[in-house]
Symmetry: D2
């Protein structure tokens, strides 16, 4: 049924890592978004990769090596959804190949790797990487940012935030509260406030019985920004009751709160209730769609605008300071260098 016209050009994407989020992106690119198709996949478990892509494109090629996938001639862009430690290696490989790459957070697990990536991208002279911070695409955060930018609540002075997961597995340990969980706040709050961090402190409240030996849960992270805004983020990853993201910005004249997702309210059994989500994938499902669509559009237009390697780098700098603060319980300085022109 197809005619040939410019609208028809499709971005041919290869996906590295076909776990929960990688599989979700395959579905998303095929069925929900426009302008892209999945033509290649790769995973440490090749069988899984095959299974993940077959329902969406039985003709997609399954690669043993992520690097081969990156260098395949018919792959225009790469989505990296493999485990965190492998991100840097694949991102560098994609930059070297001159291909667009969408990398799930974290960009890298060390500051050095982030710096190497930035250097590689600088050497290419243009942005090739979008980092998977989806919250700036969320409708609620966008409304919040507009309210702040428009000066409606006056200059922001404080942020009270909450990041609660229903539960995590045994492999989730104390520092992951920072690198896996807080990382989203570290990125989105900078964007929201248009400001940078200068210090971090971590407080460990009494622990929940629902945690295990290697995980301090909950934690409270206190951040300070250049302009003096004070941020407290409660990170509680075994809160039992659901997945709950809260953000309250206190300005000189008023406060603005991120909305809870809309849900039917019931009057039943002597209670007024609305459901709370439990799966993080549902909470920002529309933000994921917009994020990846914007990546696709950016690739097709030759101009990426989403979260950059700089965002990934700065989040990593702040995260490293927070992890140090977990150990020292002291106020740890955060020093963020000036960004290269490309990222301004």
């Amino acid at each position: 049924m197809t005619t040939k016209n410019p609208q028809e050009i499709k971005l041919r994407i290869g996906v590295i890592g076909t776990g929960a989020i990688g599989s979700d992106h395959i579905r998303r690119c095929t069925h929900t978004l426009s302008g892209a198709e999945i033509v290649a996949v790769s995973d440490v478990n090749t069988e899984n990769a095959k299974k993940a892509v077959t329902p969406y494109n039985p003709n997609a090629r399954v690669y043993e090596s992520g690097h081969d996938l990156i260098n395949a001639e018919n792959v225009d862009a790469v989505i990296i959804a493999s485990s965190g430690q492998t991100h840097a290696e694949y991102v560098l490989s994609a930059i070297k190949a001159g291909k667009y790459v969408f990398c799930e957070k974290p960009l890298a697990t060390t500051i050095e790797d982030c710096q190497n990536i930035i250097q590689a991208e600088q050497d290419q002279g243009r942005r090739l990487v979008q980092v998977g911070f989806m919250r700036p695409y969320d409708k609620g955060y966008r409304e919040l940012k507009k309210i702040i930018s428009d000066g409606i609540i006056g200059s922001p002075l404080m942020v009270h935030a909450v990041h609660r997961n229903q539960k995590v597995g045994e492999s989730y340990v104390t520092h992951m509260s920072i690198f896996e969980t807080l990382i989203h706040e570290l990125d989105v709050l900078r964007w929201l406030l248009n400001d940078d961090y200068i210090s971090a402190q971590v407080i460990f409240p009494r622990q929940t019985n629902y945690t295990h030996e290697k995980l301090r849960d909950p934690q409270i992270v206190l951040l300070e920004t250049k302009s003096g805004i004070r941020i407290d983020v409660e990170v509680f990853v075994n809160c039992q009751y659901g997945y709950d993201i809260q953000c309250s910005v206190v300005g000189e004249k008023g406060t603005a709160n991120l909305p809870d997702p809309a849900a039917v309210s019931l009057r039943l059994g002597e209670k007024l209730t609305t459901s709370i989500l439990t799966d993080w994938k549902d909470r920002f499902i529309e933000a994921y769609d917009i994020e990846i669509q914007e990546f696709i559009n950016g690739c097709l237009a030759g101009q990426l605008n989403g979260p950059s390697t700089w965002n990934g780098y700065v989040a990593a700098i702040a995260a490293v300071a927070c992890v140090k603060a977990q150990d020292t319980l002291a106020i740890e300085p955060i020093s963020i260098p000036d960004s290269p022109a490309m990222y301004k």
Copy 2:
């Protein structure tokens, strides 16, 4: 950048009527949804048609006649978004051409036209038409329907609904409260309750000063269903404060309310406030996306599942009774025949 594979087949759509909603569908099919492209347009104002499609597909063909568009060889499916009185004619033409057609509400402005369309579709032996009722695709209504179907609030006994527009123009007159506005409730409430109407009554409260001579505003429509459920719908199209859709279902054990759209809450100037939408296009924007995507998917799969000509017909029968009740102020019976097997 394109390879040839089965995923690539695109539905080639022609759009008749390029006003607000038609233009929106062109944008949506091109930029937001997957699996379709706009290849042809038509409008009573050919210049407007040209302008509407050019940014999205400069190569799309502009037709003087909607019928020529329908019969064009490269048009696989048609979206009808022209003025209400022309719908029946184009739908019949599309059915005759054996092409899939998405028709904005109303399906037709007379019962006879609806019957003719149903007959034509019956003659073709399969569903070719989807009617533009988008609310069943809204997340809130879907959650509401699931709660009812799951028996959570017990058998539904009553529905209290509200349909408020901020304001309407001078050309909007009393009976349009039914055919342009209430029509959405007439469709979605049948779907929600899985029931049919048997009578209607209209009550005219004291009029607002913000209306004009030819429009009774607000109105209250009382409906009764076969199973005895009683529905009251307030239709108030100059309510001044915003676009507001409410729906509360009262069951034997509890009640369930359609959620308001999520919005940032502000504490400012001695008030706690959230914004209320004013543009109806924003209220169900995601529902519109899903609705058209489902139409595209249905066409590509050869099987339409969305609101059918029967839905359009039944809504028209109920609407005609409501308009009569506006005149008589009596309880008017509504008689809905048994549906052909194709629509069950």
Copy 3:
């Protein structure tokens, strides 16, 4: 510990009827309110009367006859909380004795008795009776009335109200939905809107399984006022989930809703919940306090200002029309005469 001064004068009250509400008033006058003491009680069950008053005033006298209580020298004012059919007789007796009387609703069960009471009070030349409509003393209704009076939402056009009880006993039959339950809305909505009723219609939705043979439940009562305001009140006395009073006033420019009682919100078990009250005595507990305090103050000051016999009479006229409408299912006229000067 007491000195003699003007502040010290106490209103000596006798209570007729020591069931739930009568006992509550004894407690209230003794422990919560100021300026009154309970000196006498009477009940069809003398033992109950004794038990009810002893913890609060063991010296209070227990009368076999309500009329003897009314005429006792040391009784300054009377509270009537006996069964509805006995109200008129005791009110007339108190008026004849020239004593202030607080009469729980209904003032009387027939129009004629109301008229007799009004005549008796007219003959005395001053107000002696306050009728037990407590909602005008509720903070929420008062805020609502102020918003309407201040013109904030423009002229009121419609009211959507809900009166739900968790459950009622077997002795509660269809017409009691009007005289026992709707009667509160009949009074408070007149006060809220400063308007009178001109017609009533009753609709019987599908019945709940939680009712019995002699009770149609739920019901919807439609009222029309002189100025054309249309009111719908859902009365649902076996709603299962709690005691729930809702009132939404729709004006030309906006709407105002009676608040739900404040309650702690919980995030627990995948739900956000607040409790719904189940006992009607809790819902308006502060209004009851204010109502009786105002009666006490009015008696001490020689000037009653609360709901009058006229309010009781008009509510009865409207209630009789509603009961008729339950039988006829037709629109029944309500004719309310001009009030005597004393009640304006």
Copy 4:
């Protein structure tokens, strides 16, 4: 109109300090509460004292000296609502006279004065003092405490609290954020959690432009309890938008939030709004009533149960540590001794 019976005994109260809160208590005792009368007043401005009491009891005696009032034969109990620095002196005087005394917060402005008061009360062998912490009498806090005590949200781990005033005058300086404002949280959170503080830290966010040179505003106070619960309290006394008290308790299984006061919700001008209170006297008006009524009842029964001198002492210890933390910006230890048996 008065008979003589045991119910009639009234507590004869003298009020020292007839500013805003003192005058309010005169009104409250006379018109709202039962069992008390105001027989004496005293103020630094004798004219004001006279004016404050005359409308309620023209026969009340006006004293030049608070001590004379305390020792007056017809004064059974004293309410102290004079300026904070005078509290200790009057409380000691009342204890010495063996009279019941209700003292507005703070009990005293130094730890030593608190200790002296406790010693004096110990010497009398029974409680004579109730300190004016009214929040434990608030319905919302009580519901919150019950939820915690019942184990509904599991063991409490964190509390996020907010204390915002619309604005304060030029005389309000940095340390008053602790002694005048935070003092309420210092008391009520101990009561809520049934726990004691062990450390305090203060954070100064970027200042609002709406403050003055001698006031750091806002502030965040971090508290730690014996059981490891971590508390953050935002104190923001020029928040501009209203008087706002928030308290969210995070437990192992869920969270419980103090409710906002119930208020009519408006849909108006493209916004859904409810009013926020601006006057702190309105926020806890019912709690004030219950607090003073309980004091009256306790005096009449010879047994005080409300917040004790120990509560006042502990709040002062914690407040002193917080003020120190304002200076040092370090984590300051809080050491609370074991309470004498009388206060357990």
